[in-house]
Symmetry: C2
DNA sequence: ACAAAAGTGTTACACGTACACCCATGA
DNA sequence: TCATGGGTGTACGTGTAACACTTTTGT
């Protein structure tokens, strides 16, 4: 994305604002991040976080929504600002202030389609990330840390699952995210006890064992509970 | 602090980076914020958060440390970035990206001295803050929200107390910060059970009741425990 | 009938809550 | 000796941890 800078006036190089977004997904087994492969110098062939420069009269939040929409075709994605990265020499071609976001998407909603877009994006497991262009590895690391903190205190894990999911899927997600295991029975009791999940009649299909019940997160229920001084915690 | 912009070249107005810091303190009874009174338009006579423009080749973290040092004379203050505020029209004189921080200081270390500095800064109780210049009220609100979250999960409350403090002071602080009351006996058991506080021989003095024991937070102890997978939580 | 995962019940124990009580100091 | 807040012990209930067990499906 920074490649575009080359085409722009040098005013942007002396002082640019960009937005980058760490996009998380979950494929049922691993927590994933969306990375793109840079096609140009600097950092040619390095992995990078998707992003773009912010236009002169553009709100950064609009800018990052634009980037995400162009990349994935999705709207109304869960999105939160992480922090700004603004060191003097983070970009070799001139000073750039980057406002970093992270977002959570349902992985089924976006399959990187190599032919659809110029940048080739793909999902990478978070354990496999090692080096990245610029200070993107640092951004990724901080985003992951923040996600781990947030997911314990806010019911945002559901953003990474399909609309309808089983409790086993949910448990698996939390186990991967928090890096520990839960007892099945206790996990169910705790999460169902919160009264945040709406049980559906629908059952899992085409599994070679007893099919699990599907659930749906009920945001209005959560809003109600919040007013009554309820605090999600896992 | 924005007043300085007037003296600078218009390049900064078309695109400036500034740093602002929400400085918290605790006087034993109330959580306080350091506010300055603006002496010039725009927002003349409004309260504002201390801050300044970032120089062309200055790291924002250095910039905010500079501002805090100029204002309070202190160094090595607890400091954390909140987030960036970068809306297009937040500043009437031109686009400014503000990186907001918050910091915690021991209130005894800084008494606003009206004669010592041009800007007159003073401590205000967080309940009394209502309106501020620019979007500073929003910045303040978000900083406070973040502080409330952080203080539950990280042992940073001590940054707001003197080096040596009593358990009653600590309890009071948490009660004001989290907006609830704790049972004295249970609070002590919990906090002392964490093994983070070093009990001193010293006792409280000149109080007209039984003097309380003084404690000191032990950061090295905390570092140790963290390695053993301990997680602070209150 | 078997494997595999869903789903439930039971018990022991740790921890939070509530509250009563004693202690040390200044006036 | 009284008022004030420091400091501690205990009893009770709730919630978490551990684990065994039953259920339902596909092969």
């Amino acid at each position: 994305m920074y490649d575009k800078e080359r085409a722009k006036s040098s005013v942007y190089f002396t002082f640019g604002i960009s937005v980058d977004c760490v996009v998380f997904g979950f494929d049922g087994s691993h927590v994933k991040v969306l990375v793109i492969k840079r096609g140009m110098e600097p950092y040619k062939n390095f992995s990078a976080i998707p992003g773009d420069l912010v236009l002169e009269r553009e709100d950064p939040l609009d800018a990052i929504k634009r980037v995400l929409n162009e990349l994935t075709g999705l709207k109304d994605i869960y999105l939160e600002q992480l922090k700004a990265f603004a060191g003097v020499d983070r970009h070799p071609l001139g000073r750039v202030v980057t406002i970093a976001y992270y977002s959570l998407i349902k992985i089924d909603d976006y399959n990187p389609n190599p032919s659809s877009w110029a940048t080739d994006a793909k999902w990478a497991s978070i354990e496999d990330i090692d080096e990245m262009a610029f200070d993107h590895f640092e951004i990724f690391t901080e985003a992951l840390t923040r996600l781990k903190e947030r997911v314990r205190l806010k019911p945002i894990g559901f953003e990474l699952l399909p609309e309808e999911f089983t409790l086993a899927q949910l448990q698996h997600l939390y186990e991967k995210l928090l890096g520990k295991t839960f007892d099945k029975a206790n996990f169910r009791k705790k999460i169902l006890g919160m009264d945040l999940l709406f049980p559906l009649e629908k059952l899992q299909k085409a599994v070679k064992h007893r099919p699990a019940r599907m659930y749906r997160f009920d945001p209005s229920r959560y809003a109600d509970l919040t007013k009554r001084n309820f605090h999600f915690e896992l």
